[in-house]
């Protein structure tokens, strides 16, 4: 018997990386999964985009666990597309219990005052407004179901501290904390809990897949990146499953009175 038997989870950005790990972790505990991903390149991210093959591989991994999985190509920047994902989840599974607003991008610019306007806009559109649109599309179904639920938004240690060369990312990740805290208050009467998770660097194509970009930032900000890159615990990054395990706890009944909080999984980086 799993901790999430009979539940349905919607996960954005689930073609690979953390999103895929969350899908597999929740499925192993009995949840059926609805996963979406843009599966297309954006303008500024410095690492290769997820593909439709990646998304299909997530489906296969969930189905290998004898859970059902619906996958959709969808862009969190488009409310209509997110509503379509939510409607498909409802028509196929009849309920949504868990939402993981995980989709996010990263890009770098030397500094904030020379960053191209469309680079700023792309980041805010995906990592902040995309989270709101995901919530906007899914929450009405969760409320209507009347069974409560749990939402976890993926922020970052950069949702709690600043960094040079990606102020747009820092602003978006701080922004989702404010959204989370307000949603936690608004949704408490419906027994829907809302929390953010704050990883340090995770071993995924986004974070560990482009060391040359971090070297570039290191050359721009020589006094900064060495401290940024050194976790307190002796690991260069954490694994996707470490984030999934924390999320599993947050969405399970074991955390029934945990809402409105910011959970760091950062190998101790924030305490330094």
């Amino acid at each position: 018997m799993g901790r999430l038997d009979g539940k349905v989870a919607v996960i954005t950005g689930g073609a690979r990386g953390q999103g895929r790990s969350h899908a597999v972790t929740l499925a192993r505990e009995g949840a059926d999964i609805v996963v979406c991903d843009i599966c297309a390149p954006l303008k500024y991210p410095h690492y290769p985009p997820a593909t439709e093959e990646d998304l299909n591989e997530t489906v296969r991994l969930v189905e290998d666990l004898d859970r059902q999985c619906i996958a959709a190509k969808a862009d969190v920047r488009d409310l209509r597309q997110m509503e379509a994902v939510a409607e498909r989840a409802m028509s196929e599974f009849g309920r949504i219990d868990i939402l993981l607003a995980n989709a996010g991008i990263h890009s770098v610019a030397r500094n904030s005052w020379e960053m191209p306007e469309d680079q700023w806009q792309e980041m805010i559109d995906v990592n902040l407004t995309g989270v709101w649109k995901t919530c906007r599309a899914v929450i009405p179904h969760m409320i209507h179901g009347g069974r409560g639920g749990a939402i976890v938004i993926t922020s970052s240690i950069n949702g709690l501290k600043g960094s040079p060369s990606w102020s747009h990312y820092v602003a978006a990740k701080h922004g989702v904390v404010g959204l989370m805290r307000s949603l936690a208050i608004e949704l408490a009467p419906h027994n829907i809990r809302v929390n953010t998770i704050h990883p340090t660097g995770v071993n995924t194509p986004m974070a560990s897949g482009a060391p040359e970009v971090l070297q570039q930032v290191d050359s721009w900000w020589p006094n900064y990146v060495s401290s940024y890159l050194s976790n307190l615990l002796d690991v260069p990054w954490v694994e996707p499953v470490d984030i999934s395990n924390a999320i599993l706890w947050l969405v399970s009944d074991e955390a029934r009175y945990v809402t409105g909080t910011t959970l760091v999984v950062d190998a101790g980086l924030m305490v330094k």
């Binding site: 307190l232 706890w249 809402t259 101790g268 330094k272």
Partner: protein
């Protein structure tokens, strides 16, 4: 198979309430338990504290789960007593993997009227007691290059609360201590975290002194009289959470699932934390 098979956990303040719940939750996952409690009254505390009978009852409940339990009377204000507990635990079990620095007390007074005794008892128990427990157990954990420490702070460690100046200061202090020790011992494979509960359904809140603080307009307020006030502190529509809710958060923090979580303060607070910055 449990998540804590073969582990040994030392829990301060384990005669009843949250400490007992932690003991049972960890034992259920396979841990053997060492539990201590002052099992005596500290005079200014306006509610009955744990007793020796309750401490023995914790041991019995752990043993009912087929785990071993060593129960000892000890005052966390005295590091020598805690070192004695650790020594005895090591001689019986050979190792200590987990420390839950849970023992805590409270009393009520505006700061302007607070006595030295009230201040000292709360600071010495809630803050120095955590410091003492860490000092007693860390040499062993450092030697073994492994440890999981969780200190019980409070939402009172994230905001101010009238009539609780000493308690609030002690709990903010615990979070600062936790973050510092996390830095000092990460190199030895030891994680150090705090949990921050809202009101918990234990004797610490269910007593006349607490009820009167919440309903000064009534001569003998009852549980029903104070529920709305307790509920108003939280965002989720519950007046208090259960000890088991804190235990489950602690179980997560001491399990391998949280291997990369250290130096953090985890709120289990029915959303009270959504309103404040920390």
């Amino acid at each position: 198979m449990g998540k804590l098979d073969g582990k040994v956990a030392l829990i301060t303040g384990g005669a009843r309430g949250q400490g007992r719940s932690h003991a049972l939750t960890l034992a259920r996952e396979g841990a053997d338990i060492v539990v201590c409690d002052i099992a005596a009254q500290i005079p200014p505390v306006p509610f009955p504290m744990g007793t020796e009978e309750q401490l023995q009852e914790t041991a019995r409940l752990v043993e009912d789960l087929d785990r071993r339990c060593l129960a000892m009377k000890a005052d966390v204000r005295d590091v020598a007593q805690l070192r004695g507990v650790v020594e005895r635990a090591l001689s019986e079990f050979g190792h200590i993997d987990i420390l839950l620095a849970n023992a805590g007390i409270g009393s009520y007074s505006p700061v302007v009227d607070m006595t030295d005794e009230q201040w000292d008892d709360v600071i010495d128990t809630n803050l120095k007691g955590v410091f003492n427990a860490m000092r007693a157990v860390l040499p062993h954990m450092i030697e073994r290059r492994y440890g999981r420490i969780v200190a019980t702070a409070s939402m009172a460690g994230r905001v101010g609360m009238p009539n609780l100046g000493h308690y609030v200061a002690s709990k903010w202090g615990v979070i600062g201590l936790v973050k510092t020790v996390a830095l000092e011992v990460a190199q030895y494979g030891i994680t150090v975290n705090a949990v921050c509960p809202t009101s918990v359904n234990t004797d610490m809140i269910h007593n006349e002194a607490t009820y009167k603080l919440f309903r000064p307009d009534l001569e003998h307020p009852t549980r029903e009289d104070v529920m709305a006030t307790f509920m108003s502190l939280n965002v989720q529509p519950v007046p208090w959470v259960e000890p088991e809710d804190i235990s489950r958060a602690i179980l997560f923090l001491v399990s391998d699932e949280a291997r990369y979580i250290t130096g953090t303060a985890l709120s289990v607070a029915a959303g009270m934390n959504a309103r404040n910055a920390a």
